[in-house]
């Protein structure tokens, strides 16, 4: 337990504080940029789909950043505690922070007297974030290139702005705006699978 805590704290202090600051800033700026008062469920869904989803890229994608340098990766791999476990602990930290920020945005909307199903929207927002973040982690695992890892989910997000619904089907991100909740199950599942695949691929590489 002590080791786990130490890993989490060190990671947070040395690598994650900047990402958290950016994500927190985005969450706090949400009411200023978009307005969170008296929204109906579709308008509230728009905020989560279009705005909050981006936090998945910010918080989840840089999962392998601390060992971006091959020498550090080799050093960590030589340690007794498996590198995969360290990555899983980082992932847990990212998901917890994401969930807290998600609650923060949802509470802000509730305070603004917006009408929406709180619990359902929490999971829907998490599904979007997990999908975009998972896409980033998967790409990072394959390419070992942080910029490409950011680029692919960002481009996916852009596609959803265009004719995405037509081409992306069940993986269309902005479905809360139209009241379609089924997509989120697909997105959430795909997000978990992509994250798992990304971690496996990354750790198989020498």
């Amino acid at each position: 337990m002590e080791r786990i805590l130490s890993i989490e704290i060190e990671h947070f202090k040395n690598h994650y504080a900047g990402h958290l600051a950016a994500a927190l800033l985005l969450s706090l700026l949400a009411p200023v940029i978009m307005g969170m008062e008296a929204l109906n469920q579709y308008q509230a869904g728009q905020i989560l789909d279009v705005y909050f989803s981006l936090l998945g890229i910010v918080l989840l994608t840089p999962l392998f950043m601390p060992e971006q340098n091959k020498d550090i990766r080799d050093l960590l791999a030589s340690r007794e505690y498996p590198l995969r476990n360290i990555q899983l602990l980082r992932l847990l930290q990212a998901v917890v922070i994401l969930a807290v920020l998600n609650l923060l945005v949802l509470f802000q909307m509730k305070l603004g007297e917006c009408t929406f199903p709180f619990g359902t929207y929490f999971w829907c927002a998490m599904a979007n974030c997990l999908f975009l973040g998972g896409l980033g982690i998967f790409t990072y695992g394959i390419t070992d290139h942080l910029v490409i890892a950011y680029m692919i989910p960002v481009f996916y997000y852009i596609c959803c702005y265009g004719a995405g619904q037509k081409y992306l089907g069940k993986f269309y991100l902005f479905s809360l705006m139209t009241g379609d909740l089924e997509n989120k199950i697909w997105l959430g599942t795909a997000g978990i699978l992509l994250t798992a695949a990304g971690i496996v691929i990354r750790n198989r590489k020498k």
């Binding site: 900047g18 950016a22 702005y161 265009g162």
Partner: protein, 418 residues
């Protein structure tokens, strides 16, 4: 020295995976968005289909419709606005509501009873040959009659004031007011639009605008990844110090990187535009219209080049000064705000937007009316790009000198000059 470095930088980028991913993304976006070539349909007198809708030019109707809208929102104390493109329901304080009430009183001469004073528009929908009406939702809106002595200029001043009270981006902003009253287009209107597309735009200019509108969406963001990759490459390969110690000046090194990235971003657009250009020439030949064969080139250089220049410069500057992920995040937020500004209005949203929208291959009169804004907008971004690049050179030079970046002095050959 510059050209040698420029060629080397181009060679480096042509070998990088991210450049090909960038190309794939641009081509995918082009294929999925711009799609196939659509011809213009010539309006026929007495045709069954509607000639479409247009913003009303009747000032009384614009004033009436806008005031009816304002009165409705005032009575519900619920104002719809898109300050940065996203829907915002604005609820005003008592004092601000009082100010809106004052505006309504000045514009209508009525102290209360606005709902009762609102009347339906008297304009009828056009009839087809079998006497049935063509109905299109959202036009010929209800009207609240303005005061008799209210001039259109004064009305506009009041509406600008109301928009400011609401916080901007409302239906009362001077750019949006004329969209509050829409009406049915006539045969003459439709013919004018068709003729303008053929003879003023010479087909290709309208198509080039649509091309730039779509490509501007991806170019407002994706080039930042090329800039960040280039900046991080030295760090990744741990070649920073080796390059710092080279004879080339900081200006030459950064300029070579920047212009090579810009060159390789813009060149594929010229290639992509060849297909729609050839289609325009063929279509023009069929109609006997002289097509502007340089239209795509001119629009790419005037519209997309400043945008790309800015995104790359911003990416180089931020990744050199703050770090790669920060540069990407800033650009994503900037992109999101730009793309959303204007709300649902996709034709003629220019202002100071990084990504101006003109999602229509016709609407020549709208284009001509926003052309001045567009020129100022693009000049601004070209200027900002130059500033950011100057900043990048300065930071890079400071790193070389050892002032920034926590390293010692890296110069061997050069001491003072940039």
């Amino acid at each position: 020295m510059f050209f040698k470095l420029f060629a080397k930088e181009c060679g480096q980028m042509l070998k990088s995976l991210i450049y090909y991913l960038f190309l794939a993304a641009v081509v995918f976006f082009y294929v999925s968005q711009v799609g196939s070539f659509t011809t213009y349909s010539e309006p026929l007198k007495g045709q069954e289909e509607s000639y479409g809708i247009k913003a009303s030019s009747d000032k009384q109707q614009i004033m009436g419709a806008t005031l009816a809208l304002l009165a409705g929102e005032y009575e519900a104390n619920s104002y719809t606005a898109y300050p940065v493109g996203f829907y915002k329901n604005v609820v005003l304080t008592k004092e601000k509501q009082e100010k809106i009430h004052q505006i309504l009183m000045d514009c209508t001469g009525l102290e209360e009873g606005y709902t009762d004073a609102i009347r339906e528009s008297s304009e009828e929908a056009p009839q087809t040959e079998d006497s049935s009406y063509i109905q299109i939702a959202g036009i010929n809106p209800p009207l609240l009659p303005p005061a008799e002595d209210l001039s259109y200029d004064r009305f506009l001043r009041y509406m600008t004031k109301a928009d400011k009270i609401i916080g901007g981006g409302s239906s009362y902003a001077s750019d949006n007011v004329k969209n509050n009253a829409k009406t049915y287009a006539t045969y003459e209107d439709a013919k004018k639009v068709y003729d303008a597309s053929l003879y003023t735009d010479r087909i290709s200019r309208g198509k080039a605008r649509l091309f730039c509108d779509y490509m501007g969406i991806v170019l407002g963001l994706l080039p930042v990844f090329l800039a960040v990759t280039r900046t991080l490459r030295d760090k990744r390969s741990m070649a920073q110090e080796v390059i710092y110690a080279r004879r080339a000046s900081s200006v030459t090194i950064i300029a070579a990187r920047y212009f090579s990235a810009m060159f390789l971003t813009i060149m594929p657009l010229f290639l992509l535009s060849l297909t729609p250009m050839l289609q325009c020439i063929y279509y023009g030949h069929q109609l006997g219209v002289s097509v502007d064969v340089l239209a795509f080139g001119k629009y790419i250089l005037g519209w997309l080049l400043p945008e790309t220049a800015f995104v790359l410069a911003c990416g180089f500057f931020l990744s050199e000064s703050v770090g790669g992920p920060a540069a990407i995040l800033v650009q994503v937020v900037l992109w999101m705000v730009s793309i959303s500004t204007g709300g649902t209005k996709l034709v003629g949203t220019v202002g100071w937007n990084l990504i101006p929208r003109f999602n229509n291959d016709q609407a020549t009169d709208v284009w001509l009316s926003v052309f001045g804004q567009m020129v100022r907008n693009r000049l601004l971004y070209a200027g900002l790009a130059l500033l950011f690049m100057a900043g990048t050179v300065f930071i890079y030079h400071m790193k070389r000198k050892g002032v920034l970046g926590g390293r010692g002095k890296n110069f061997i050959h050069r001491n003072r000059t940039l």
